[in-house]
Amino acid sequence: MPVAAARPAESFDELTLRRAQRGDEPAWRALIDRYQAPVHAVIWRLLAGRQLDRVEDLVQETFVRVLRALPAFEPSGPATLATWILTIATRLALNELRRPEHAELVDEPVAARGDRADDRADRRRLAAAIQAAVAALPEAQRAVFVLREYHDLDYSEIAAALEIDLGTVKSRLARARGALRAHLEAALPELKERP
């Protein structure tokens, strides 16, 4: 079960979308404001907290491409606006991952807030372990995993976004989850006690 519905609800109103497609700047700004958080999140997660200095560049590049291609976007087509935008962001992030690595900045993961100090410390450990485990995944598995677990794309949407078939989506997701489990158990031995 995906852990968070990071994909925004499809309620970007049709009128604003049409205005954005005609090049209306206030509508462009509304679109960016609406989708900035998930675009930032998907790029940050795909980079697995690394190359921090590139995240914002890639977010901006995503929106430049989105706005330039927006007149051709067909709202009644197979992809929703959110999925279409996440697809562009995902591909840019994957391209970035394929670049030869240079000196990189590594982000400290931010754990979601818990109720107590102990909880927060546990969740920070868990967040750090997840980040390391995701970073260790091959990029092809990482993309499927992040889009499914954190951005709530269904299998067919992931297949379309990554231009792979459904079977490949399922197999990569299974391998990614298995690898994650193994990595997390190695990092956090207490997880072995859980089913």
């Binding site: 079960m1 995906p2 852990v3 968070a4 090049g23 700047e25 462009w28 700004r29 960016i32 404001d33 900035q36 958080a37 930032h40 999140a41 940050w44 997660r45 914002e56 977010v59 901006q60 929106f63 430049v64 706005l67 330039r68 291609a69 927006l70 007149p71 051709a72 591909r91 840019l92 391209n95 394929r98 670049r99 030869p100 982000d107 993961p109 931010v110 754990a111 979601a112 969740r123 920070r124 868990l126 967040a127 997840i130 980040q131 995701v134 677990e149 954190y150 399922k170 997701l173 299974a174 989850r177 298995g178 994650l180 489990r181 997390l184 997880l191 859980r194 089913p195």
Partner: protein, 350 residues
Amino acid sequence: MTDEDDPLAGIALDAWQPPPAPGGTADAVLRRMREPVAVAAHELGGRPRRRWPLWASAGVAIAAAASVLVIGPWGAPAPAPGGDGRGDVIAERASHLDLGPTSAELDAGTALSWRRDHRRVAVAQLRGAATWRVVGDDVLELDAGAMGASVEASGASLRVEVQMQIAHSDARVVAASAVTAAAVALVTIVVYQGHVKVASGGQTVNVAAGGRVEVKPGASPREVREVATAAPGEEGAGGQAASASAEEGRTIAPVELEAHRLKGNKQVMPDSYEQRAMQSAHEDRVIAAIKLCVDTTGAVSQVRILRSSGYPGYDQKIASEVSAWGFRPIEIDGKAVPVCTALSFIYSQK
């Protein structure tokens, strides 16, 4: 496996959250969107990059005169947002012109005006020769020679040559002249890839890859002969048959010339910067075509880009590498002769 039998069930994956997105993204994106489409040009043949002479800013009087003929019909001059824009250029040397996804290799002396309106790229090619590469969703609508010959292309590679009655005249004078249309002698369109519509004299013809059409002022398009075209199908960089003219020597097949090759690198790869640019553009395969001529000593006497890869640095690298090739003299009836051929370089990356 389904989400229900997930080995990660019970693990709080939501503990891993990104930091808040920084502010200012919208402002930065909108600033970029207000910038006009980059019009960058650089010369082939190893010379340093230089900017285009942009007549809109550099030659007010000439631009104004040309606008009567060319820019006027397009309406309001203010560029629209969304990467749209317009400009007038004259290539003082062989140069590369980027108009968003669509690009052109301009021969020296080529004069044209362009306007981008979202996916539509309207071009008035007043004179000279240009090899156009129309990619993505772009649609090129080209008015050749301002004499009523129009070309429409999408997903195509083609060469448009506008020959003038006035030989060796100054491009700037012709571009600004009211007699521009009358000075056009012939427009030639060669299609390397895709399909292109050519209209003139009330008739429209569809030209497929390999087709060559000539248009005289006021006359219908006339298909003159077929040319060989690059035949994609071979992975990696390597040579394939394309087309060639025999101006500088007898035209021979690439394989025939290859049999005489003594030295030189055939596996010409784009540098890492260009490779990354290809990845960013989601292009896993690019094709460049060159014309190659060899003199009677077996030395390369001419290398000319017939079809740009879309990546000027890669074009230049190909031209540079091919210039260093060497051949045994090609003999016909016991006598060394100059020859020409055409090669395509196909670069694929996964």
